[in-house]
């Protein structure tokens, strides 16, 4: 207990040193303009690891995590923000939606109960004309030897999409396969939460 208290006080001291003494005062409006930005940007608040301070559930501190986290912090620059490709007439009555499917196999494209197209090697494209803003078109593509594929075309613009169908044996390489398999596993194989005693 005494050891824990001592550890806590060291931690508290560390916290006090690593934090700015007072929160930065809000900058005046013009000061936040990029052109006149303050020379010293406010230091980012850096949370410290306190895993050891919580014995019941304490995970081990990972010293590398903050670095990784910092690396992952994305920045929205003007370069990242790209305006959407302009349409010739964004107020046209109808829009054209184009679907291209690979590989070259016989495939059936449906939209709900409606059949949209039968594709075959040599003609793997289909085009749909829809009233602008009439809601998205959720398509299902079925082909023998391949898993059913669900995709969406947006009718609030001219839209096009290329779809690559996946064979059944490719499923383990797809995101979600493990979790889906776990969900469908027999109950005995599932990890069940431990019952409270």
């Amino acid at each position: 207990m005494r050891l824990r208290r001592a550890w806590m006080s060291v931690l508290a001291l560390l916290c006090a040193c690593s934090r700015p003494s007072t929160p930065a005062a809000p900058a005046a409006s013009p000061a936040v303009e990029p052109a006149t930005a303050p020379a010293k940007p406010s230091k980012p608040s850096k949370p410290i690891k306190l895993a050891a301070a919580h014995p019941p559930v304490a995970p081990e501190a990972s010293k590398e995590a903050p670095k990784e986290a910092l690396k992952e912090v994305p920045k929205i620059d003007e370069a990242d923000l790209k305006t959407e490709e302009r349409e010739a007439n964004p107020y046209s009555e109808t829009v054209n939606l184009k679907l291209t499917v690979t590989p070259q196999v016989k495939a059936l494209v449906t939209w709900g109960a409606k059949q949209v197209a039968r594709l075959a090697p040599g003609s793997m494209d289909t085009e749909i004309s829809r009233p602008r803003g009439s809601g998205p078109v959720d398509l299902e593509i079925k082909a023998e030897g391949f898993m059913p594929y669900h995709t969406r075309l947006y009718a609030d613009r001219n839209d096009k999409i290329n779809v690559r169908l996946y064979r059944v044996e490719e499923a383990p390489g797809l995101l979600g396969y493990k979790r889906s398999a776990e969900k469908n596993a027999p109950p005995a194989e599932k990890k069940m939460p431990e019952k409270k005693k």
Binding site: A12, P23, A24, P26, S29, V32, E33, P34, A37, P41, S42, S45, P47, I48, K49, L50, A53, H54, P56, P59, E60, S62, A65, A69, E72, V73, P74, I76, D77, L81, E84, R86, Y91, G112, G133, G135, D138, E140, P148, Y149, H150, T151, R152, Y154, D156, R157, I161, V163, L165, Y166, L174, G176, R179, S180, K183, K191, P193, E194, K195, K196
Partner: protein
């Protein structure tokens, strides 16, 4: 009570009309409350009526027409003349959408379409669903609590239909209000509870006979051992009686399908009818028969419709006047000592006097109601009866709005502040896996200020959310607890995004990314775009302001986005004390109003729809799904950015800094390995309404 409490759990005044009615938490209302017949008085226009414009006799083009009610008679007036006289034209048309959903223009004059506008208008008019697809016949969107108020045509239909109902007198309001709430259960528990009640009744009856007590109360006084059982029994009896009145009211209002409902049971039909009632009347509950729900049911139907109309007009007035002060600013003032009332926020006028910050939204709404001659529900019914639906294609009303305070201008020195309130970093379970109480007295609050004559003047203040302990799926596929912190310190809003899109992290449960949906005559499984948006159900709501921080990178300064946003939220109940993943949520309608106001009073560039080109292919149950998000949303850039400061709040408990790692969930058996390192990324800060 419903109308007496604002959407922020704060005492409401009539001056905060846009706030949906909300139940008081832990209501201890008296058994029988008197429900006021007409709780909202609409003031009459001043006399003599200087703002009355001459009636137009010529045929005016629709864009030149507006209406006014003068001395009880409606007339058409010239909108141009109204503008010249300094009147505000309030848009009553069905095509209305808030400012943030207006189309823009590129510097070269090319149109920048704001695509969500069409969906918003379709939703408000009960024409389409959230995807923009036609609603099935007879279906309604009750989306006011989700930030999409009904259009005037929808209100018209509601008034006309409800005005024709004759069944209302069959509902006994006193029986509804005789209970604080009605307890409801799922099917199995409901049966058990009914049996329990039945046998308790038999037991008490036999005890009554034994002790020769004529009533249950007498039994309780003769033998106190029965007191508790008698109390429970009588409460359940009263709830059953009230339940029958609820059924009658929902049937009368056309919300309950009698064919699908079994009398006396809280079945699926009843649950969905109760939820529709609550959403129609902006009652903050999710199908539970709360006190606020019962109070709303005890009010005449047209009275509820009239309150809804006032809320709709409040939104229109706030957007027409580009005003934000709704009487909530008082919540930002320090808590008073010794039962003294809270101090009113003030600003300094030219003469250096302190003038109270007005409730402009409330005053403007009063002015609109008065100019339309809407003092009672009957006035509103008459208004809608004389206006066919076609009138609402272009209807406007010419109103004198309250004078704007001196601090108003084309570029206001606005600043925003988020007070995190009471913070607990401690893990909320003990080593036995029992949840620990972590009481908060001060909840997080958002306040918008204007800097004026050396002071920070609060304009509006609302409840918001901050991060806390949340469940997250780690890289090993296991669920852990993780503290999702809200950044503290000075940031800026540089970009405001209308209809923003949220990208689910790869750690999101895959099953939740698939749903069954009606599509062109079938019910296939499709990708679930509800949470990603764009849409009112998006994790970022209808609009978001991105928190960015200037950081040094080499010799340069760059903006960093750590994933924190102030954004709207469909999860209206989360604003009442739950936690976010780090973001600051506001009710969708408040967020839309806030950011429309900011854009109306700051220099801003319309950037338009920003490309995203996001695609994620995933597997679920033997099929492949392709999630496609072509757009980030419709961007505005504030020039200069607007400062926003997040205050640290008051740290409670032992820990003074958050734990940044994953923490195993108590009672869950994990593999032998340690939890993986917690990932960080923009999209892990938002997420769902959980």
């Amino acid at each position: 009570m419903g109308c007496a409490v604002s959407c922020h759990g704060k005492p409401a005044t009539l001056s905060n009309p846009a706030a949906p009615a909300e139940p008081a938490p832990g209501s201890t209302a008296p058994a029988i409350a008197v429900v006021p017949a007409v709780p909202i008085p609409a003031p009459q226009p001043p006399k003599p009526d200087d703002d009355a414009l001459p009636e137009v006799t010529d045929k005016l083009a629709p864009e030149r027409r507006a209406i006014q009610v003068v001395a009880g008679i409606e007339r058409v007036v010239d909108a141009d003349v109204a503008r010249d006289k300094g009147l505000t034209l309030v848009d009553l048309s069905d095509g209305f959408a808030p400012f943030i959903f207006q189309d823009g223009k590129a510097p070269d004059g090319a149109p920048l379409p704001n695509r969500y506008r069409a969906v918003f208008v379709g939703l408000a008019n009960d024409r389409t669903d959230g995807d923009g697809e036609p609603l099935p016949p007879g279906e309604r969107n009750y989306l006011e609590l989700y930030g999409v108020p009904p259009s005037l045509s929808v209100m018209r239909k509601r008034f006309v239909e409800d005005g024709a109902r004759t069944c209302e007198s069959t509902v006994d309001a006193a029986k509804l209000l005789a209970v604080d709430s009605i307890e409801t259960w799922g099917k199995t528990t409901e049966k058990k509870e009914a049996a329990k009640h039945h046998f308790r009744g038999m037991r008490l009856e036999s005890a009554q006979k034994k002790l020769n007590a004529s009533t249950l109360d007498e039994l309780a006084s003769k033998d106190p051992r029965y007191a508790r059982e008698v109390k429970d029994h009588l409460r359940t009896e009263a709830e059953r009686v009230a339940f029958a009145e609820v059924e009658k009211r929902l049937l009368c209002e056309g919300l309950l399908d009698a064919g699908k409902h079994k009398d006396g049971t809280y079945d699926g039909a009843m649950r969905s009818a109760a939820l529709e009632f609550q959403q129609k009347n902006a009652v903050f509950a999710q199908a539970d028969l709360t006190r606020a729900t019962l109070e709303a049911m005890a009010r005449p139907i047209l009275q509820n419709d009239f309150m809804a109309l006032r809320r709709v007009l409040a939104e229109r007035a706030a957007h027409a006047g580009r005003i934000i002060e709704d009487g909530s600013a008082i919540e930002s003032m320090p808590l008073p000592k010794r039962n003294k009332p809270r101090q009113q926020p003030t600003y300094k006028n030219k003469a250096g006097e302190n003038v109270p910050v007005p409730d402009l939204v409330g005053q403007a709404t009063d002015a609109v109601m008065a100019r339309l001659g809407l003092a009672t529900p009957e006035d509103a019914l008459a208004f809608f009866r004389r206006h066919p639906e076609s009138d609402f294609r272009s209807l406007r009303v010419a109103v004198r709005f309250p004078a704007l305070p001196e601090y108003y201008g084309p570029h206001m020195d606005l600043v925003a502040e988020i007070d995190r309130g009471d913070i607990w970093y401690d893990f909320p379970f003990n080593d036995k896996g029992e949840r620990l109480a972590q009481a908060r007295e001060r909840f997080p609050g958002f306040t918008l200020f204007v800097r004026w004559r050396g002071e920070k003047v609060p304009l509006a203040s609302w409840r918001t959310t901050i991060g806390g302990w949340r469940t997250e799926v780690a890289a090993d596929g296991e669920e852990y607890y993780r503290y999702k912190d809200s950044d503290v310190g000075a940031r800026v809003w540089r970009h405001i995004v209308a209809a923003p899109v949220w990208l689910p992290p790869t750690s999101s449960p895959v099953g939740a990314m698939v749903k069954t949906k009606y599509v062109a005559g079938a019910y296939p499984r499709v990708v679930n775009y509800d949470e990603t948006g764009p849409g009112y159900l998006s994790a970022y709501g209808l609009v978001a302001g991105i928190h960015e921080q200037l950081r040094r990178r080499g010799d340069q300064l760059a903006y960093f986005d750590n994933g924190i946003r102030t954004h709207g939220s469909f999860d209206y109940l989360s604003l009442r004390g739950r936690f976010s993943h780090g973001c600051h949520r506001l009710y969708n309608n408040i967020a839309v109003r806030l950011f429309s106001f900011v854009l109306g009073h700051r220099k801003a560039k319309v950037m338009g729809p920003m490309a995203l080109g996001f695609r994620r292919t995933f597997y679920w149950d033997g099929e492949v799904y392709d999630m496609r998000l072509p757009t980030r949303g419709f961007y505005f850039q504030l020039e200069p950015p607007l400062p926003i400061e997040t205050l640290k709040g008051k740290i409670k408990g032992k820990l003074t800094q958050p734990i940044t790692d994953y923490v195993p969930k108590p009672g869950v058996k994990y593999g032998d390995g340690k939890p993986p390192a917690a990932a960080s990324g923009v999209d892990s800060k938002a997420g769902g309404g959980q």
